[in-house]
């Protein structure tokens, strides 16, 4: 019987890994959290909005201590053509107080805080250390090899939370061939502006913040844009379908540049000094590409398991990472308690995910990426809706006002929008989001 260094090794101190480690440490298991960055979150990037409600049970009253920038109280969805924009603008003060909804946060702050919670419960965090492979005993995973000298570390269970394109999950053979069609590229700029300027431009006060999702702003590359307010910076970026990006030969920074120059966005971002530019691959519409979630002695969580929704305007991953990390921690704890860490003993993980939002949301929204990224939603509908609005609101006397029905019919014809498609897409949307 091998003598293990730890009960569990968690690879990757992102939101998934820290939640898994926190859950296990609290249950009294010895846990080692291995992170390649100099500190958790050092190199992690994302758009900027987190939905931390999933933390309610793990860190009660998390909102009192989590390092957030602003609470999102205004969420806008914008449809654009190169010269037009139509926006649905929802705001509520209900999201400005406990238990809150979404928040903007910097990942280095948030991830370091969450990993600190795990450490506080007794997890051993080792930074500047990269897991380079799995250690096995037959088919069973019994630890990881790291890039440090004498760097083998053993445990009963390894939880791979090493992010998108998980090297460990692939090495364990949990993925079928990965199809680049299921990946999107996220690129983001952080722009510095004084807080007062942001407050004024976005019509918010104090810690209230804004989340704008934008369709139709990425030219011929299917995708979406976003603009979020931090305390004294803005995050502006785009999420782009990878194969199309390659085919179009457009540089992502040029697409962000075009978004920043859009007449509806330019006045909001004007004068912001670029503090940071970053790019990262996102597993999109995870349900289709999800790997096998457990092997003997191994679990996968977060982006590593493709638990992420990135379909144009949809950008959620941190909440799924935290939810799946917690579930993995619980399942690992149970398996260790029962003394059986085989894949079948770890099946409780998948059951947990199916019962909670992680897999349910993914199943429900499985059609969303295809719909949101379709040519119709990307280009025809925004143009159609914008043109209808334009003619509705335009006053070209002495000509009399045309009726809405007539405008709509003419614009549908002009924009190549078929009623048949509209009905079909509406139905698909209803199924996905309804």
């Amino acid at each position: 019987m091998a003598d293990f260094h730890f009960d569990v090794i968690v690879v990757g101190a992102g939101p998934a890994g820290s939640c898994a480690a926190l859950t296990l440490a609290r249950a009294g298991r010895s846990v080692c959290l291995v992170e390649r960055g100099p500190f958790p979150g050092a190199k992690n990037m994302y758009g900027g909005v987190i939905y931390p409600r999933v933390l309610d049970q793990l860190v009660p009253r998390w909102w009192e201590e989590a390092p957030i920038q602003r609470w999102v109280t205004r969420r806008m969805t914008m449809m654009t053509t190169p010269t037009q924009a139509i926006t649905v603008d929802y705001r509520t003060q209900a999201w400005a107080g406990p238990p809150y909804n979404g928040a903007t946060a910097y990942r280095p702050d948030f991830d370091a805080w969450l990993a600190g919670k795990a450490e506080g419960e007794g997890a051993v965090l080792v930074c500047s250390t990269t897991a380079t492979g799995l250690l096995r005993d037959g088919s069973r995973v019994v630890g990881v090899r790291t890039d440090r000298p004498d760097g083998d570390l053993t445990a009963r269970i390894v939880i791979a939370c090493d992010g998108v394109n998980s090297f460990l999950a692939k090495e364990a053979g949990l993925y079928r061939d990965s199809d680049p069609g299921h990946f999107t590229l996220g690129v983001k700029e952080t722009l510095a502006l004084p807080k007062a300027v942001i407050d004024e431009r976005f019509g918010v006060r104090d810690l209230d913040g804004v989340d704008i999702e934008i369709v139709g702003c990425t030219g011929d590359v299917p995708g979406g844009g976003f603009l979020y307010t931090n305390l004294d910076t803005l995050a502006v970026g785009v999420v782009l379908k990878l194969p199309a990006l390659a085919a179009q030969q457009r540089r992502p920074e040029a697409i962000i540049g075009a978004l920043k120059a859009h007449p509806a966005i330019a006045p909001l971002v004007e004068g912001g000094e670029v503090k940071e530019y970053s790019a990262h691959v996102i597993p999109e519409g995870g349900y289709e590409m999800m790997p096998t979630l457990a092997g003997d002695g191994l679990l996968v969580a977060g982006d590593a398991a493709a638990f992420c929704l990135a379909a144009g305007i949809w950008l959620e991953g941190v909440n799924f990472a935290m939810g799946s990390g917690m579930a993995a921690g619980e399942a690992a704890n149970e398996a260790i308690a029962r003394g059986d860490v085989t894949a079948s003993a770890l099946a409780g993980y998948r059951k947990r995910l199916e019962a909670n939002f992680v897999l349910r949301d993914h199943r429900k929204l499985r059609g969303a990426p295809g719909l949101v990224l379709s040519d119709r939603v990307q280009k025809r509908y925004p143009a159609f809706i914008c043109n209808v609005a334009e003619r509705m609101f335009r006053v070209d006397n002495p000509a009399p006002k045309p009726g809405l029905r007539r405008i709509a019919r003419q614009e549908m014809k002009r924009g190549g929008v078929r009623l048949r498609h509209l009905v079909k897409d509406a139905w698909a949307g209803w199924k996905a989001f309804g």
């Binding site: 080692c32 100099p38 050092a42 280095p108 370091a112 440090r148 760097g151 083998d152």
Partner: protein, 273 residues
């Protein structure tokens, strides 16, 4: 005993270009590349001589993290001297000297990232009454001696040799710090760091009245000669080149080469042939 002095600093401070205000981000704190090189040399040196290696940092409790990492890399003992972050170099040197007084060799980095004066090692040598060899760009650990190459001005180098007690400082490019083995990293997390009190006094003679962003000071230049018109055009000409900028001339290759060489001769870069 051999010692290495490691300064805990923010490796990536952000300086506001308008106000000169420095924003520290302690998460990026650590030791400079130069101090890492110093630690690596100290480790190699201790391996050769079999001496004990003591790592020292003068600074706040957060500095203990880097000392523990140094222990994980192989240092025998870690000491932190309690001094104020803003302590001037002589005070820091005195604090360090109290710990390393019996060291045969003290390894330092050439400059610290924040203060960047490179004076602590020199003050330390003075304090200990030992030789100094500073700003080394290459080091050789020889039998009973250490040889180093020191950067001089105008591209020259000086080869130095120390055979007795000395303070050495090295540039960051001289060595790459080894990675600590995983087992020692795990064990090093709880390594004890001895804490000693440093000099309490502050140097009341020096006050920082204000900090501001760097702006070059006006340079003194020889007054232009010639007519008022010449002077105005020379003062308004961009750049500080001695000669005025000239219009491009079209030449064939041989004539071009000749023209280049004759210009170099006129300007004094080549002897008259």
């Amino acid at each position: 005993m051999i010692a290495a002095c490691l300064k805990w600093v923010d490796r990536r401070p952000e300086v506001d270009p308008i106000t000169g205000v420095v924003h520290d981000d302690n998460r990026f704190a650590g030791i400079s590349d130069a101090d890492q090189a110093a630690l690596e040399w100290a480790l190699r040196h201790a391996e050769v001589t079999g001496d004990e290696l003591v790592v020292v940092a003068a600074g706040p409790p957060q500095a203990e993290g880097v000392l523990r990492e140094a222990v994980a890399c192989g240092a025998s003992r870690a000491v932190r001297v309690e001094v104020a972050l803003a302590a001037p170099s002589p005070t820091v040197a005195r604090a360090l000297a109290s710990v390393v007084s019996s060291a045969t060799t003290v390894w330092c980095g050439d400059y610290s990232l924040d203060r960047g004066s490179g004076s602590v090692p020199s003050f330390l040598a003075a304090e200990l009454g030992v030789a100094q060899a500073l700003g080394l760009v290459a080091v050789t650990l020889a039998e009973g001696a250490i040889e180093g190459l020191r950067r001089l001005d105008k591209g020259r180098r000086e080869r130095l040799r120390v055979t007795d007690r000395a303070v050495l400082s090295v540039e960051g490019s001289t060595a790459r710090l080894r990675r600590a083995p995983l087992s020692r990293t795990l064990a090093g997390r709880t390594a004890t760091v001895d804490v000693v009190a440093g000099p309490r006094e502050v140097d009341a003679r020096v006050t920082t009245v204000r900090s501001r962003p760097y702006r070059p000071r006006p340079r003194e230049l020889a007054a232009p000669v010639g007519s008022a018109h010449d002077r105005i055009s020379s003062l308004t000409a961009a750049g500080t080149s001695a000669g005025g900028r000239t219009d491009p001339i079209v030449l064939d290759p041989a004539a071009a080469a000749e023209r280049v060489l004759s210009a170099l001769t006129t300007w004094g870069y080549r002897p008259e042939s």
